[in-house]
Subunit: 208 residues, 2 copies
Amino acid sequence: MSRPPALSTTSFAILSLLAVSPFSTYELARQMDRSLGRFWPRAQSKLYEEPKKLVAHGLAVGEAGRTGRRPRTVYAITPAGRAALAGWLAEPGAGPQLEFEGLVKVAFAENGSRADALDTLAAVRAWAVERNADNLAIARAYRTGEGDYPGRAAQSVLAGAFLTDYYAMVARWAEWATTQVEGWPEQPADARLDPAVLDEVARRADWA
Amino acid sequence: MSRPPALSTTSFAILSLLAVSPFSTYELARQMDRSLGRFWPRAQSKLYEEPKKLVAHGLAVGEAGRTGRRPRTVYAITPAGRAALAGWLAEPGAGPQLEFEGLVKVAFAENGSRADALDTLAAVRAWAVERNADNLAIARAYRTGEGDYPGRAAQSVLAGAFLTDYYAMVARWAEWATTQVEGWPEQPADARLDPAVLDEVARRADWA
DNA sequence: TTCTTCATGTAATTAGTTACATGATTGA
DNA sequence: TCAATCATGTAACTAATTACATGAAGAA
């Protein structure tokens, strides 16, 4: 019996959700939306595909049902799935990987106008403020006992705190960078760096 | 004349490098390694592919040469390329997108042991410390006038500062999370959350 | 009864990575 | 002259996204 495609981080992320509770694909998508998707974002269609892989490996079972005439599948983790998950958790896992288009634009701002760079930074800050508001709303829900899966709060709060710190860091950086760019001439290519700024940044890096 | 595949963020990221100076593919790979790759990571082979797309669009030209008997191509941006780049910079661009396997493991730590979670957090902290050291070394090189492309220092430092703050944030979070997990019982699933922690995190989020 | 949103899935396409192959250069 | 590293590229593969199609349920 030939093993189907190997399991990826995405597979285990989905399996982790199923370890919380059985879910239909749509419910998985909602969980992805509120939490997991912030640090392991995947398109909807993936969520239809991965559980099938888990089933093929015996790590989950799919129970077929119906909503009216439409087919609908609810997936649940198996004991083998829990074992596989435990094995996966025993490996440390990769560090955060960033993909930040806005920063690419800032880093090469000399090819555009000063106003472009300021707009980009404003958008970055707005992004962080908005994400933070969502995140804060979730934290407040937990505080009033309305959070999802309160039995998992000790774990959830670790991820929530990461996001909190992350959004705050992004916003503060955008504010700082804005003050820098405001000091530039109209042509960003003519901007010269005050060496004192390098010292300041080096100091910020001196925590290890 | 049918247009070849549309330009992606990756295309413009490469084009931005070519705006700094003409580069061979290998030199592009080195630039990717030292800076751009930290916030727009791509595999080597992409760097052989994308410039061809840029040439097909008239945004770059490739000059064929040789190293001994081996062919070698050096790419340079064209005036049309500079114009396209300026157009791209006028759009704000996407916010940072995170993909963080270690955090997935922490967020679902109840399926493994407490020691697993602590190991994962230690690996995350080590990751941040190492990246920070690289980044700091680059900052110091600029300070002593040995940085690459000193004319671009005003732009480079903005990206450098982002990474500095980012690595510091990751390390500090890992340290904090470690103290939390140290307070857990042997079975992470039994860990209960002190509501005061929620308040603390909410306060950290209250900057907007 | 019609519009909107919730819900369920598949198919086509593309972006990106891994693996491979090999020449050139340098230093032991 | 051999090994290690620098350098240049292609081919095969896969992970992931976008686009599409449509049924069910609830609100106006």
